[in-house]
Each structure stands twice: as structure tokens, then as C-alpha cells.
Amino acid sequence: MTAPITTVAMPVTITINGEARDLAVAPFRTLLDVLRNEAGLTGTKKGCDVGDCGACTVLLDGEPVNACLVLAVEVDGRAVTTIEGIAPEPDRLHPLQESFMALGASQCGFCTPGIIVMAKALLDRNPDPTEDEIRFGLAGNICRCTGYTKIVEAIRATARQMAAAGQPRE
């Protein structure tokens, strides 16, 4: 008979969207499941749970990762930014969020959180990406609805707009 599943929870402290959260997590739990189920942040989506689709993209200490491929216990003491933490202030959206809405870059929206987070990471590194660089940057993010046309447009428009505004990136 298979051994019962160990559910000894380990205490971790993860800074999620700027707020330190003390959580008790089973060692086999992914960051994705902990964000969605324990932290109550369901904006990050599960499209595959095996690292193939990018729907679960979050920033870990500023770098994009697939949250389904990271164990929650690994991120003890580190900082995670999810789609819920992308907007600079509660009442002000990130320019990427504005462009995605205005230019129709989100249809069913299931890929959108991951893609916006990935695009933010891309613009943080490269404020003026070419179309090819944007497409390469999204190589790990599946969108089945849009053909990417408007996603690429929205990211380029955001880059232009942020450059024009001379805005520091948060």
C-alpha cells in the first residue's frame, strides 16, 4: 500500500506584492498552488502545471518564472510579484494593463496575467524592444485566442508611451 501523503507543513515567509506573508506550506506544493489556494491570489492561472504555457508567470525577485515549476518552500524569504501587484497604485493601472485593454490584447484573458507579467519583465530589461524581441520574449507564453497581433502591438505601444513619459519603471 502506498504511504499516506505527508502533509507536514513548513513555515515560510514570502513577500507577495510587497506584503510579507507567513504561510505554512506542504513541501510538495508549488508556488502556483500556494498563490492561488493559500494566498488567495487567483489572478495567476494554471494552464498546464508543467511549465509549458506561461499562464502562471510571476516575478521572483524581479525575474519571470513559471510558478508551477517552483516549490513554495524554495521561495522562503524572497519576493514575488503577481498580476495583482503589477499596478503601481490601487487606483492606477500599469501602462501595460491600460494598453492591453485599449488595444484588445486580451480575449478570454486566461493567458493575460502571465503575459502582462512577462511583458513587464521584458520592458524592465529592455525598455525599447523590437517586434522580434517582444515575440522572443513571449516564446514561453501560449495565447490561443489572439494570434498575438494585438499583444505585440500593446507591448510596443506601452514601450513608446513609457519612453515618452520618461517614466521610471516600478
Binding site: 499516506p4 501523503i5 509549458d52 492591453f100 480575449q107 478570454c108 493567458c111 490561443r144 498575438y148 494585438k150
Partner: protein, 760 residues
């Protein structure tokens, strides 16, 4: 007159999507919720001799297990369009037999997903294997094992579907050129991003609430009620946002029944979420198959006769097999005019995954064959293919596949515009310099037409309730689902326009079968067309009530009133005005007037049209085909929201490129096992594969039936892209492919064969 029709207003659904606040079925958590999982079959065809759940039940945390012995045995429709001829009644929740590898045989509810999964592993099933058939040919062989007891027999899902018009013999006798060929189609899947998921809860009075990712909540309600033996007011279906469906989420899936029963058994809420692998296994695919097509032509390109035999592989259950077969067969009566046709469609059970509804619904397959054959004929006759298609294009007054006369010259308009936009004649092999290097480029085009709504195949009806609140704001209640297309925004635009209020004043309520008017589901490119028209009708009633009150107050005739941006004015009397809010303000005895409108629309038939022009580049050393650019030209009547319409077109093209060049869900021909049930192995075009798309939308053939002349657009764009690519490959390398997907290996093999022929 400012108008909100044709304006890309900010969609009402996307704020939640870009902030992460949008709630999908899998985001809902209820106190005490359990996790459900299905045990799936590891054989393709077998009788279940016994199932032993004792070990699994003993596992701490397991709360309930269901096998075929524990669930109602009610034969039900795979896709719940009640009693329509489009779908079959051939499924049980759990049967004593399995008919494909991956079919559910038992279900577990446990306190965690891990425990539920482990419990599934601990269930042992004793299968008595039955001979299995994986191809249509095997299934149609005289001694083939019988997969179902229902149906016409011989593993047919339905009796052959026949269409005859004119005199085919005479047509072929008059032909100066007869061409025939067989065209083959792989097995693409919709691969929506959100895996199937539902959450069920029962209340103390025995009412079931189910949150589920479905395109057709009222159909889910109807079938669940029927199978579980409940009145309709004891089943409530909720769906707010959903992560794509593309047709396939019209079906009612095994897990939706099982989740409800597990919740009933445990008296706790249960969530059941597919893994990605299960979304392939237990999902729905497009129908694979073959189409034999034969046409007669005059030397000038006139078509004299058309004959076709379609054979679709339905997989283990019928699902939408009858509907897809009928639509595919009927579609060959048209697109290119031909008076003499004889068409036959068959759909066959096999022990493979279930084929169902998928954007394009049979027409993807039939126009792939037709449009490639037109290219072949053009080549033989020495006529430019675009000119040949233009010459034969359906036009005003022609009888459509639905037997309705067409309005407008949409297809011709699309072809002409594409020819102009692309500089077509100079792009094709005949008009350009020979290519020498390793990379060869070519241009191709394909055409399509597609009905807005499934009428008359399904008796359809769009409904809407519009209510004006006492402050002049408007609440629109719609039963349509938010599939991701932006349809709710379009419905709000239509309502605002008709009623004369601002777009911002309309709030949309949807996604709760207890509250919103009945809806057949979001499919068949009909939401904006059909529900939109119902919204317009309902809004007009409210407007009349508002204007009647305004007329009283202003002491003028209501016929002289106009309302725009919520301000009522009197024609010819400048300065006399009243806001809507003032018009409906409380009066003595009437604290809040009841301003309700209700629209029910039984659609007429409308068709949208498209022509896709495509440039490809073939790497003759690797066999890789890159699509370099696409110029889709669509005629879709009056456009309500241009960005959303263009988004449908771009997304359809993405899926169509995938169908044509890489997507094929492969079933092992030895044992029926799925070989590529993951996003890594099932290869879809992603950001780096997608070419620039220059979308052109025409509004030259509006429909009288649609709101403000609108027609459908959802399915159209996936249809013409396939043959356009196949034809472009031929233009690039001179090799004709008559199937999809066209893989690099096949390109290389064909090039080698061609080189061999030339050397010999």
C-alpha cells in the same frame, strides 16, 4: 448623431482580465471544498469486469468514490442541444464499457488533489478487452466490432447525409475537364487555455449549483436536470469568465455529472479540474477524415457538376457528429456556384478520442478540399486561381447551404479587395522571377463563407431583457456566455445605441441561469447577430416606454421625440429637452416606473464571407514552412466593435495556421493511446511563429436580420487560411498537398520525389 456602433469602446470584461480580478470557474473556493478526480481508462475498448475501490476508499482523506454502479444510468446527449438533429444520444455518465483510451471509469472526492490522485491510482479495474478500431476504414469493415448499440449500425453515427441538386450526370457529361481527388484531415484540438473545470454544491433543499467553464450554461442545466432527475429550477449554472472554448465547451463532459454526484454524496462542495493532459484526453477534437471530391468544368472555368463523399471520424461518441457532418456536406453546395451537386456525408464511430464542435464546424474540412481543388483546376486550365474563384463566387440571390437566398456580393468583394491589396498578379509564380536559393516563397489564397447562427440546423432563439433603473441607468440581462470574444460589450453597445443612452450607462448581467433569460449558448458565430438583435428589440421597448413618459411631461407626441446620450429632444423645437432621468422620475403614486423590455429573436439566416491571401516561405533544406504574411479580407456586415472583430480574425488565423502546418493530436494506431497530450508535443503556432496579419474588414453586405446589419465573425477566419497556405506552398515549390497538417518531413519527401522525377 454620435453613435457607439462601430466604435472600439473599452470592453467591459477586460479590466478584470488585466488585473487578475476576473473570476473563472477554477478560481471559486467554497468552505469545506473537496477535490474530485477521475480515474481514466488505460484501454481503448473493453468491458469492465470489475472495479475494486476498497484500497482507495481506505486512504485517509478520501470521502467518496463513484463507479458505474453508483451513478444514474441514463442515456443522454453528448452535446446538450436538446433533441436537435445535430447531436447524438449515446452516452452514460459512466458505462460498463469503455470506448476510448482515457475515458473516465470512476471518480474520487478527497480532501486534497494529491489524495484524490493517489486514490485513483489505488483503484483497480479489471478490463475484458474487446477488439478495437482506430480508423474509419477499420470501423467500416464488415466484421468490425460494434462500438455502440444505438445508431443506425455498422458503426455509423447517423444515416448517410445526402444532398442532391440539379442533374449531376448531365453536369459531368457537359464538362470539358473533370478533376477528382481525395483530401485528408488530421486531428487538431481546440486547446483552449483554461482546462475544463467545475465546482458543485447542493443546498439543503436539494438544489444543485454548478460553476463550470461552459459555452452553453442552459444546455448544461437542461442535461444535468434530465439525467439527475431534477426540475430545471433546482439546477443553477454559473459561469462568469471562461478561458476559451472554441466550440468544444458546448459539450457536457463526464466530470460535470460526476462532480455533481460527488458533491451530493459527500454533502460538501467538490471542485473537479482537468489537468492539461486530461484536457486533451477527455476533451473534444475537430473531426479527422477524408473528402473525396470530383468536379466538372468548362474550359472557361464554369463549374458544371460537383460530387463529394465526406467521411468523418467521430471518435468514441457522437457528440456533434451529425451536425458537423450535415454542415460540412451542405457547405459544398456553395462557395463556388454549381447547379448540379451530389454530396454525401458519413460520420463513423471509432475507439479514439471524441470529436466534437470546434470553430468552423465541418466547413474547415470541406472548404480545404474545395479550395485546393479549385487551385488545381486553375493550374490545369491556365487561369489565375483568384480569377477562377471570382468567376465562380456565390453572389446575391444564390441559394446558400441553408437553402436561403444570399444577400449581397460579399465573397466577390473580398476577393477583389485582396487581389488589389496584395498586387496578386505580380506575386504569383507566373508573374515573378524564378527563385533559385534554398528558400522559396509563394502566394496562395483561399475563400470561405459561414452562417451566422446554426439555424435551420438547430432551432435557435436569442433573448434579452433590458431594464431601465430609476436613475436612467440600464441593466441588460443576457444568457450569452463571455467566451472571450467581447460579445457582452457588443451587446451593451447595441442596447445603448437603440435606447439612446451612453454606452457607459449600460451594465451587463450574465452567467447565472437563475437570473438571466434562456440562451442556447455562445457558438455558431451567432451571439452578436442573434442575441444582439434581441437586445435591440428589448431596448426599443424600453425606449418607447421612456418616450411615452417624456411625451406626457412635455405635452408633445412621442413620435416627435428623439433620444441620444440620455437626453430627449423634440424634433423641430430647439431648446425643448428633458433628460431620460427626468422623464422617468418618480411621480405621485409611482415611486419607480417599471421600465422593462424583453426581446426574443428567431433568426433568419445570414452568411459572412472571407478571402485570405497568404505568403509562405519554404525552406527546401529543412522542409520548414513559414507563413510570412496574411492579408485576410472579411465581409461581416455592420461591424459593432472593430478591434474585437479583428481580434477574432487574427486568432482564427493562428489556429488555422496550426491546423495546416503542425497541429495533430496523434493516436497510436496499435492501442489507441494518445501520443502527444501536452503543449510541448502538440505544437501550436506561438508568438514567434505568427506572421504579421493585415486585417481588412468590409461591410458591403449587411444583413437585415442582424442588429444594425451585423453578421457573425467568430468561425469565419479559421476556414480560408488552410487552403490559402496549401495553395501558397504549391506556388512556392510546385508540390501539391491535399491534406493537413503538412509537415516538414512531407515537404522534404515531396521535394525529393519531385527532384527524382525531374532527374529521371
Amino acid at each position: 448623431m454620435t453613435s457607439v456602433i462601430g466604435k472600439s469602446v473599452k470592453r467591459t470584461d477586460t479590466l478584470g482580465k488585466v488585473t487578475g480580478g476576473a473570476v473563472y470557474a477554477g478560481d471559486v473556493v467554497l468552505p469545506g471544498m473537496l477535490f474530485g478526480r477521475m480515474k481514466r481508462s488505460t484501454v481503448a475498448h473493453a468491458r469492465i469486469a470489475s472495479i475494486d475501490v476498497s484500497k482507495a476508499l481506505a486512504l485517509p482523506g478520501v470521502k467518496a468514490i463513484l463507479t458505474h454502479a453508483d451513478v444514474p444510468r441514463v442515456l443522454h446527449y453528448g452535446s446538450p442541444h436538446p433533441r436537435s438533429a445535430s447531436v447524438t444520444q449515446d452516452q452514460y455518465i459512466l458505462d460498463t464499457k469503455v470506448r476510448y483510451w482515457g475515458e473516465g471509469v470512476a471518480a474520487v472526492a478527497a480532501t486534497s488533489e494529491e489524495i484524490a490522485e493517489l486514490a485513483c491510482e489505488l483503484i483497480t479495474v479489471d478490463y475484458e478487452p474487446l477488439p478495437a478500431v482506430f480508423t474509419v476504414d477499420e470501423a467500416l469493415a464488415p466484421a468490425a466490432p460494434k462500438i455502440h448499440d444505438v445508431g443506425p449500425g455498422g458503426n455509423l453515427v447517423l444515416d448517410p447525409f445526402l444532398i442532391k441538386r440539379g442533374d449531376v450526370e448531365k453536369g459531368f457529361a457537359e464538362a470539358e475537364l473533370i478533376i477528382e481527388g481525395e483530401y485528408g484531415m488530421g486531428r487538431p484540438t481546440p486547446a483552449y487555455m483554461e482546462p475544463n473545470v467545475c465546482l458543485c454544491q447542493w443546498d439543503p433543499l436539494g438544489k444543485l449549483t454548478i460553476w463550470t467553464s461552459t459555452q452553453s450554461p442552459f444546455m448544461v442545466r437542461g442535461t444535468l436536470a434530465e439525467v439527475l432527475g431534477l426540475p430545471l429550477n433546482k439546477v443553477r449554472v454559473l459561469v462568469d469568465h471562461m478561458g476559451g472554448g472554441f466550440g468544444a465547451k458546448q459539450d457536457l463532459f463526464q466530470h460535470e455529472f460526476l462532480c455533481a454526484l460527488l458533491a451530493q454524496r459527500t454533502r460538501r462542495p467538490v471542485r473537479m479540474e482537468f489537468t492539461r493532459k486530461e484536457t486533451f484526453l477527455g476533451g473534444r477534437t475537430r473531426h479527422p477524415g477524408t473528402i473525396w471530391l470530383r468536379q466538372g468544368f468548362k474550359r472557361d472555368g464554369t463549374i458544371t457538376a460537383r460530387e463529394a463523399k465526406i467521411v468523418f471520424n467521430s471518435g468514441a461518441y457522437g457528440s456533434h457528429g451529425p451536425g458537423v457532418t450535415a454542415v460540412a456536406t451542405a457547405s459544398l453546395t456553395s462557395l463556388y456556384r454549381c447547379e448540379n451537386v451530389r454530396l454525401e456525408g458519413r460520420c463513423v464511430y471509432t475507439n479514439t478520442p471524441i470529436a466534437g464542435a470546434f470553430r468552423g464546424y465541418g466547413v474547415v474540412q470541406s472548404y480545404y478540399a474545395l479550395d485546393i481543388q479549385m487551385d488545381e483546376v486553375a493550374e490545369t486550365l491556365g487561369i489565375d486561381p483568384a480569377e477562377l474563384k471570382l468567376k465562380n463566387a456565390v453572389r446575391e440571390g444564390d441559394i446558400a447551404p441553408s437553402n436561403h437566398p444570399l444577400t449581397g456580393h460579399g465573397l466577390e468583394d473580398c476577393i477583389r479587395r485582396g487581389i488589389m491589396e496584395t498586387g496578386w498578379a505580380t506575386r504569383r509564380a507566373r508573374g515573378r522571377a524564378p527563385q533559385t536559393g534554398r528558400l522559396k516563397r509563394g502566394w496562395g489564397m483561399g475563400c470561405e463563407m459561414h452562417g451566422s447562427s446554426a439555424y435551420p440546423g438547430i432551432k435557435e432563439q436569442g433573448n434579452a431583457v433590458v431594464r431601465m433603473n430609476e436613475d436612467g441607468s440600464v441593466t441588460l440581462l443576457t444568457g450569452t456566455t463571455g467566451l472571450g470574444t467581447g460579445a457582452h460589450t457588443a451587446l451593451a453597445q447595441i442596447t445603448a445605441e437603440e435606447l439612446g443612452v451612453r454606452f457607459e450607462d449600460v451594465a451587463v448581467v450574465h452567467g447565472d441561469t437563475d437570473v438571466v433569460p434562456w440562451d442556447i449558448g455562445a457558438f455558431a458565430s451567432h451571439t452578436t447577430f442573434m442575441a444582439g438583435r434581441a437586445c435591440q428589440m428589448a431596448a426599443a421597448q424600453v425606449k418607447a416606454k421612456v418616450l411615452a413618459r417624456a411625451a406626457d411631461k412635455l405635452e408633445v407626441s412621442a413620435a416627435d421625440l428623439e433620444v441620444q446620450d440620455s437626453v430627449i429632444t423634440v424634433r423641430g423645437v430647439p431648446g425643448m429637452r428633458l433628460t431620460v432621468r427626468e422623464a422617468i422620475a418618480a411621480e405621485r403614486g409611482i415611486p419607480a416606473p417599471q421600465l422593462l423590455g424583453e426581446g426574443s429573436y428567431h433568426p433568419t439566416k445570414a452568411y459572412s464571407f472571407g478571402a485570405h491571401f497568404v505568403e509562405v516561405e519554404v525552406d527546401t533544406e529543412t522542409g520548414q514552412v513559414s507563413v510570412l504574411q496574411v492579408v485576410p479580407v472579411h465581409e461581416i456586415g455592420k461591424v459593432i466593435h472593430p478591434i474585437a472583430a479583428a481580434g477574432q480574425i487574427e486568432g482564427g488565423i493562428q489556429q488555422g495556421i496550426g491546423h495546416t502546418l503542425s497541429e495533430d493530436y496523434v493516436i497510436d494506431p496499435k492501442d489507441g493511446r494518445s501520443l502527444n497530450a501536452s503543449f510541448v508535443d502538440y505544437k501550436m503556432p506561438l508568438a514567434m511563429d505568427m506572421p504579421p496579419i493585415r486585417t481588412i474588414i468590409l461591410e458591403t453586405a449587411p444583413s437585415d436580420g442582424g442588429p444594425f446589419g451585423a453578421k457573425g465573425v467568430g468561425e469565419d477566419p479559421i476556414i480560408a487560411i488552410g487552403p490559402a497556405i496549401a495553395n501558397a506552398i504549391h506556388d512556392a515549390i510546385g508540390v501539391r498537398f491535399r491534406h493537413y497538417p503538412i509537415t516538414p518531413e512531407q515537404i522534404l519527401a515531396a521535394l525529393a520525389e519531385k527532384a527524382g522525377e525531374q532527374a529521371a
